[in-house]
């Protein structure tokens, strides 16, 4: 088990709404840790506390309660920030700068020496498909180009931890593919990537672990594979299904997939009996797997469940 890159324990953060108004509890006692070298997705509806959590990690917001550490360092410490690359939800920078100038500023602020910086900048700009926009000012960039520039500045100093807040916002399919590839590449290099997104298919595709927030609380967390497979149900695929067999499998659900191919859904304790029956009938069992649900289904279920509690 690798050391955690991020540890958050009992984090609480509230915002003042002004005099005579109650504080808003943005994050309410969340705890989780992110192992080094993993890709972790943070999901949740708007106002769930995702950006507040990220801002607390960066030291931009000071927690009311709780502990945070990044590679064992306090959040906001220079050492922690030196190891972190951050891209904000919509990357905002100075409109008057050209991309090279912007990256030069962020690179120098990240502690990179001036010598060799130009090469690093060009490498990142080309990597993110901004090599052709060198003469353009950032103010004239499209939303997608700004996003890519934001990712470029986050990657420039080759940090061990990447924190990306909605990195796919405003990107076209090609841009999304580029960012996905970058996340994979960074993972290959052993870097930790923590990103929030509304696009659940991207989370499913890219993440090892997922954390779901709702109303400032963690409502779901863990390995994506474990979360998406329900322990209770199994799916058994059978070819050459005969309609007369249905009588013997009345207690479980039988879904006709394609003509003679059916899928039987049974619970863990029924699995052995179902398989024995199928073997006795010399049925052609072509597949057996734990039933999985898409992250989107799970998300909607959690939304409904936690919504009722609230």
């Amino acid at each position: 088990m690798s050391d955690p890159a991020i540890v958050i324990e009992s984090l609480r953060k509230s915002y003042s709404q002004g005099w005579f108004r109650p504080n808003v509890q943005a994050v309410n006692g969340i705890s989780f840790s992110i192992p080094e070298g993993s890709v972790v997705g943070l999901i949740g509806p708007n106002g769930a506390g995702k950006t507040t959590t990220i801002f607390c990690l960066l030291g931009l917001l000071l927690p009311d309660e709780g502990d945070i550490s990044i590679f064992g360092e306090a959040p906001g410490s220079q050492k922690a920030r030196r190891q972190t690359g951050y891209q904000s939800e919509i990357f905002h920078t100075y409109d008057f700068l050209k991309p090279e100038q912007a990256l030069s500023l962020y690179g120098r602020l990240s502690g990179l020496p001036a010598v060799g910086l130009d090469n690093k900048i060009m490498r990142q700009l080309n990597r993110l498909g901004l090599g052709k926009a060198l003469d353009q000012k950032v103010g004239g960039f499209s939303k997608g180009m700004k996003q890519r520039l934001g990712v470029a500045q986050a990657l420039l100093h080759e940090p061990d931890l990447l924190i990306l807040d909605e990195p796919f916002t405003g990107l076209d399919p090609q841009g999304r593919k580029q960012i996905s590839e970058i996340i994979f590449e960074e993972k290959e290099k052993g870097k930790t990537v923590f990103f929030s997104s509304h696009i659940l298919s991207d989370i499913e595709r890219l993440c090892d672990d997922v954390i779901m927030l709702r109303e400032g609380k963690v409502v779901l967390s863990g390995g994506l594979q474990n979360i998406m497979t329900t322990e209770e149900s199994w799916m058994i695929t059978v070819s050459g299904w005969k309609p007369e067999w249905e009588e013997d499998f009345k207690e479980i659900s039988v879904d006709n997939v394609d003509g003679q191919v059916v899928e039987l859904e049974c619970l863990q304790h029924q699995k052995r009996e179902v398989l024995q029956k199928l073997l006795a009938k010399e049925a052609d069992i072509t597949g057996i797997r734990k039933k999985s649900v898409s992250l989107e289904q799970l998300y909607m279920e959690m939304e409904e469940k936690t919504g009722e509690e609230v």
Partner: protein
């Protein structure tokens, strides 16, 4: 200090990109037009005119130019100091900067010095123009004149610093406004003390003791005329020193508080 320098340079470029120079150019043209009539009077005065009257006229014109120039630049410095961080928060560019390993005080110092040096450079252009006329008209540069120049610079440092720091914690209009009131009406607070209305007395007392020190004498004009027998240099330099110290203390307190503060975006 590398981070401070990076932010400082970026702030100056930001000011240039915002067409601030055009505002200043308009101000310059305005001042030149106002000064023009005075200058034409000087040029039209006969060589035979009483040298003392001629010098008085020249001193008047030059001190008026510097006075107006100083007013514009200090006013702009206060305004831009007050909005410097507001625009960083409004544009959210502060987030990507403070996510980098830069101390918050470095960011603050870089921003403030950027604004300050930009307007200081403009103030110096006005001073240089006056110096050129003084050379042409063979007017000697007295110690009192230089003291007046230093006082003007110290005014810019202290009032822009105050506006900059106050606007970190209160609304920028209020922050800039307080600094402006201290600058424009600072010398009036003393008159309010001992008023029959308690609240006026309070305002006077608070304004008098909390505001930066100011000099009421027109020392630049006196410096050009060289007509003061025993200028109170000790007082003038103590006021200049106090102002610089005031700016340093305000910055220090502001930076300490800013470090312990959430970055709230507008």
């Amino acid at each position: 200090m590398r981070n401070v320098q990076l932010i400082l340079v970026n702030t100056i470029r930001d000011l240039l990109s915002k067409k601030t120079v055009y505002f200043l150019l308009f101000a310059t043209i305005g001042i030149a037009m106002l000064a023009g009539s005075g200058l034409s009077t000087v040029f039209s005065m006969q060589e035979s005119t009483d040298p003392a009257a001629l010098l008085a006229q020249k001193a008047n014109v030059l001190s008026e130019i510097l006075q107006l120039w100083g007013l514009f630049t200090i006013l702009f410095a206060i305004i831009y100091s007050a909005i410097a961080m507001y625009s960083e928060k409004k544009n959210r560019s502060i987030v990507s900067i403070l996510a980098k390993p830069i101390a918050r005080w470095e960011f603050l110092l870089g921003k403030w010095l950027g604004v300050l040096l930009f307007f200081l450079a403009f103030l110096l252009i006005g001073i240089l123009a006056v110096l050129v006329f003084m050379i042409i008209w063979d007017i000697s540069f007295t110690a009192l004149f230089w003291t007046g120049i230093m006082y003007r610079i110290s005014e810019m440092v202290v009032f822009s610093g105050l506006a900059f720091m106050l606007s970190q914690f209160i609304n920028m209009i209020l922050g800039g406004g307080i600094s402006f009131v201290f600058w424009a009406f600072g010398t009036q607070f003393q008159n309010l003390i001992d008023s029959s209305y308690w609240y006026v007395d309070w305002i006077g007392t608070i304004g008098y003791y909390l505001g930066p020190a100011q000099i009421t004498d027109r020392i630049i004009k006196d410096g050009i005329l060289n007509n003061v027998l025993n200028p109170d240099f000790a007082l003038y330099w103590s006021v200049i020193g106090e102002n610089i110290l005031y700016a340093v203390v305000v910055f220090y307190i502001g930076a300490v508080l800013f470090t312990r503060k959430d970055i709230q975006l507008n």
